[in-house]
Symmetry: C2
Subunit: 264 residues, 2 copies
């Protein structure tokens, strides 16, 4: 794989994809763009999500990336088809890889999907499962409070557990044996999700599945090669991005630049 990989998200969540890319392709150069001034995307309309996603692609293209990863489930669910039509460059999302992984894991063909309001309303996961043949039953649920809880670092407080029970127990009662964490923020709530669901339900991290799909596609020629560099750009709050981003990345984030693409 030659050239820089561009990754965008509405904020921090997409760092889970970058974290896995760093491990799987340590030689790859990455430009990360987090639209922290306009987050969250998950409560906004398809038109707005498409408009913001297009602007994010333009920013990454101005950095001469060779490939774009839409590391945000909301953008992937809503804007991916439009972006692929409009740009010649290769564009990967997180929805299809997460759905494929879930289909590989399920035994009883009952799959749960959680995500933002916008992702769940879009039925993008349902469409992916439908492409695989008709026998998978999807039970989906919007979990809009998970993002603010994750952003506040309320990962396992009593209120978080209470909210997780309200969101997730109905999915468990439906009999799912796999749950897709259909928002790149959700993996940091894994411990609470497991506590509520108990054993026996596999969790799919759509960000990990996406990173693996990219590695599979471009080959692992760079695996084991050190020296890849990540540059971080956000539209707001660089200090907070560094601070909370460390939790997502599992490593320090040295430098973050603030940009205002539309003002340029």
């Amino acid at each position: 794989m030659k050239g820089t990989i561009g990754v965008f998200d509405s904020g921090l969540g997409g760092l889970t994809v970058v974290r896995h890319l760093r491990r799987l392709l340590p030689g790859a150069d990455i430009v990360y763009f987090g639209d922290t001034a306009r987050l969250p995307y998950g409560s906004k309309s398809p038109e707005t999500v498409i408009r913001f996603s297009r602007e994010n692609c333009e920013f990454l293209l101005s950095h001469n990336v060779a490939m774009i990863i839409v590391a945000c489930n909301t953008s992937s669910a809503i804007a991916l088809d439009t972006l692929r039509r409009e740009y010649k460059i290769q564009i990967h999302g997180v929805v299809a890889p997460g759905a494929r992984r879930a289909a590989d894991l399920t035994r009883n063909r009952m799959i749960g999907v959680i995500g933002t309001h916008a992702t769940i309303r879009s039925r993008a996961y349902d469409r992916e499962f439908a492409k695989m043949g008709g026998s998978i039953k999807v039970v989906s649920r919007a979990c809009p409070l998970f993002v603010p809880l994750a952003e506040e670092g309320w990962l396992d407080r009593p209120a978080t557990v209470e909210i997780a029970r309200e969101y997730l127990l109905p999915l468990k009662e439906e009999g799912i044996d796999v749950l897709v964490l259909g928002c790149t923020h959700y993996p940091i709530l894994t411990q609470t999700v497991r506590r509520v669901l108990g054993e026996g339900i596999s969790l799919v991290d759509s960000g990990l599945s996406c990173a693996e799909a990219v590695r599979d596609q471009i080959g692992d020629g760079e695996r084991g090669v050190e020296g890849g560099r990540v540059r971080y750009f956000v539209t707001d709050m660089p200090e907070r991005f560094k601070e909370i981003g460390r939790i997502f990345m599992g490593e320090e984030i040295a430098e973050v630049s603030v940009v205002h693409p539309r003002a340029g």
Copy 2:
């Protein structure tokens, strides 16, 4: 009062101000602008809040308003001084009226203030109380999860009560006798706040205080005169604005236009 009153907020919360204005000045024409594509403001930086607030003023000025009300505590706390310097027009915020009302109500001079991260960090309420002489003690607390809970309509669920207890009981233990609801979203959580705090602590609705301050200033010549018209503009999600806005307004919202000021 001649001329239209312009009101802006990051989203829906400012409708609490409009609701009171409608009651106090039923003859006044109002233009409301909710920046729903970029909300929330409360988790963003001062620079970004000032930039967004300036753009919102420009939009209202393009509708020839005679006065602007910054119906968002975050914008009021952070951007009001800048906006007043930059625009000749009269501009009202919600922070000073809320603080004055709290100072009138307190008996023991111990006042609690809750708001977004940005409002609390700005210390705008502390500065208002300091202007009134040094004897008021302020105990403040950011309650960032209250906005998403209000937006979800989770007004009195177990998780909401649990979160309210975590946020508010420390303020009660400090001995406050007045609590300023320093975010225009919070009044719809009043029942839960009262349940957690019990009797004996007065609540101040900063939106109501602001509407009363505007009425006092421009006179009530229009009180009792019907026929004032409200026009609503948002940057995203007009249908949701209508639906949830009804709860804030206590009346139907007939028509909402979507605008993209910066793209114009």
